[in-house]
């Protein structure tokens, strides 16, 4: 399965993806749960694990007329960041290109992974981001860690994970079977 098929399937299985960060983080977990699209090459980034390949593929899909991007402005939020959300859905051409792929096992796996993420509490992009950061650190360390150890490791990436949100992240990861609990 190539990255374009992965991105198109991810958006299709989600119906519509509300937010670029949500797409990035959901892509991270779906890739993890399915073992597909390992070439996305997620790396540490200031918004948590980020794949330039996914971002590039998304732009390519927009260019080819397979994905539509909508924008919603939310004004300035606390911290001074101006919020604008980018929503993604498949165009008619995108649906047509994906059509033969909908019957494959890979698509079924992606749809199942999207469902599992929703069933595990359907976290918003912030929560997914923290869970992704936590998982990223755990995977790098390849061992169980206490909250304090994890927060210390997060500092190395310049990530300031709020301690109270670690519990929800741990529960999310555990429900998905990505940690031992």
């Amino acid at each position: 399965m190539n990255t374009s098929q992965f991105v198109l399937s991810l958006i299709h299985a989600s119906g519509e993806v509300r937010g670029r960060t949500l797409l990035q983080k959901r892509g991270f977990f779906v890739s993890l749960l399915t073992g597909l699209a390992s070439e996305l090459g997620y790396q540490a980034h200031y918004y948590g694990p980020y794949s330039a390949v996914l971002d590039g593929t998304l732009t390519q899909m927009k260019n080819l007329g397979f994905v539509e991007e909508g924008t919603t402005g939310f004004g300035i939020v606390s911290g001074g960041f101006e919020m604008r959300r980018y929503d993604y859905s498949l165009t008619e051409d995108g649906e047509k290109v994906l059509q033969p792929f909908l019957k494959t096992k890979e698509y079924a796996d992606i749809a199942n992974a999207v469902r599992r993420i929703r069933d595990a509490g359907d976290p918003d992009y912030m929560e997914l981001s923290i869970a992704a950061k936590a998982y990223f650190i755990l995977r790098k360390q390849q061992k169980g860690m206490t909250s304090a150890e994890m927060l210390k490791e997060a500092e190395k990436f310049d990530w300031n994970i709020p301690e109270h949100s670690l519990g929800r992240a741990a529960s999310f990861l555990s429900t998905l079977g990505l940690t031992s609990g």
């Binding site: 390992s38 971002d55 732009t59 080819l64 604008r84 310049d158």
Partner: protein
């Protein structure tokens, strides 16, 4: 009085060096960069573009220091940043980026594991050289060399430090746009470098610390984005330059796979061993051309392709289309999707029509490296708020979209009698090849094709 050792650079004027930095520049691994051209054989299009990776690396070193000073980065981190920028290209081999796909294909995946899919091979070689070169080890401590590699890899140091050496507006790009522009004799890569580096800021939003730009530098950043766009369309993706690059790549690939030239195979089979790196370091652009053209290499494809390059007898572009040439989304996706499985059968079919050897027909998609981080997510700092560059800039989106547009080309060794003949035949080729692609994209034909392809 502190000793100041300067080098005069055509872009930046005097570049000042500390004694340690001068000594690093004097190492064999760094001096070798004088023998690697920055833009491979772009001089066949722009005769002045013969500058080397040596002067570019000195320029990147200078700019890394300049950016670090503007950001008030402390002295010890600035030293590491400058050294990282200086050494970032030491792993390049003959013809630099052009040969990267060959390195990727022939590297020993069993020994190197996931590294090959996660990073570019020349970067892996750079990191290994910095970590193990004995001459360098005498000048820079183990710990500091490890940190320099970490900065380049993105595994050590704050985000904003890593972004100075490897990020959307890093010292590398800031230098090569200006330098490639000057030596190519164009003005497309010019932007306000002074303003750009002086308006970069470290943004701390309580969660992260990263490189951002003050609103005052918005237009300098837009100018930089435009410079990159113009250089891409006018120089890096110049039609003839693309042909020379593809001829180099195909010539080397056929030399290894068809002519079975053992030394060529050994040169591109990176396995992470010190012996490989020692051997690799002995090669340069000119040596590769001379060895291929020399008597010690048997006649074959490599010699044929490099003889053509040597005498500037280049292939011609016989098919040039973009996505708009394919209204049917299935065919559009077939051509511009990720799979290249149809290249070989298409090259064969085109070669049959033109009565050529199919190895001498080259199908190629011009696309933006999707793994490249663009300026899109750079935070723009206003007095009361922070936005992202892609939201703030009126021109970024259209330029970014344009730069990512793909084209599909076919190159072949044909010649035309005159302009009239050229127009007529190119039209015929286009119609014939579009028909071939339409047939290949048909699901039934694809099944048959897949069945006939080996393994």
């Amino acid at each position: 009085m502190r000793q100041r050792l300067e080098v005069r650079d055509p872009i930046h004027g005097f570049v000042y060096r500390e004694p340690e930095e001068r000594d690093v520049m004097d190492t064999c691994i760094f001096q070798r960069l004088r023998r690697l051209r920055q833009l491979a054989l772009a001089s066949l299009v722009y005769p002045g573009a013969t500058h080397s990776r040596f002067e570019h690396s000195v320029g990147a070193f200078h700019l890394a220091g300049k950016i670090a000073n503007a950001l008030d980065v402390d002295t010890s981190e600035t030293r590491l940043l400058k050294l990282a920028a200086l050494l970032h290209d030491v792993g390049h081999g003959p013809f630099s980026h052009v040969a990267e796909p060959i390195l990727k294909r022939h590297s020993d995946k069993t020994k190197l594991g996931d590294q090959v899919s996660e990073s570019k091979v020349h970067e892996l070689i750079s990191w290994q050289i910095i970590s193990t070169d004995k001459e360098l080890a005498r000048l820079i401590s183990d710990k500091h060399r490890e940190q320099i590699v970490g900065l380049l890899k993105g595994s050590w140091g704050h985000s904003y430090l890593q972004e100075i050496v490897s990020g959307p507006v890093d010292a590398d790009k800031q230098d090569y746009l200006l330098r490639d522009s000057l030596f190519s004799g164009v003005k497309y890569g010019v932007y306000d470098q002074e303003r750009l580096s002086n308006t970069l800021v470290i943004h701390d939003d309580n969660d992260d610390k990263f490189l951002a730009i003050s609103i005052d530098g918005m237009h300098a950043l837009e100018q930089f984005v435009l410079a990159k766009y113009y250089m891409t369309t006018q120089v890096y993706r110049h039609k003839i330059r693309l042909i020379t690059d593809q001829m180099i790549e195909r010539g080397i690939a056929l030399g290894i796979e068809e002519d079975k030239v053992e030394w060529l195979k050994a040169l591109y089979s990176f396995d992470g061993s010190p012996e490989y790196v020692a051997h690799y370091m002995e090669w340069s652009d000119d040596r590769l051309i001379n060895e291929i053209l020399g008597n010690a290499t048997k006649d074959g494809y490599a010699k044929k392709f490099f003889k053509r390059l040597y005498n500037r007898q280049l292939f011609k572009c016989i098919f040039d289309v973009d996505q708009n040439d394919f209204p049917d989304p299935t065919v559009r996706n077939f051509v511009f999707g990720d799979s290249k499985d149809f290249y070989k059968p298409l090259e064969k079919a085109v070669a049959d029509i033109l009565k050529l050897d199919s190895n001498e027909v080259i199908a190629y998609t011009i696309k933006f490296d999707s793994a490249t981080r663009t300026e899109s997510e750079i935070p723009v700092i206003h007095r009361m708020k922070t936005t992202l560059f892609h939201d703030e800039s009126t021109l970024f989106k259209s330029v970014d979209q344009k730069i990512r547009e793909q084209r599909f080309h076919i190159y072949a060794p044909v010649s035309f009698q005159d302009d009239k003949d050229k127009k007529k035949r190119l039209r015929e080729y286009k119609n014939g090849i579009l028909e071939l692609i339409g047939k290949m994209a048909d699901p039934q034909t694809r099944l048959a094709l897949e069945g006939s392809l080996p393994g």
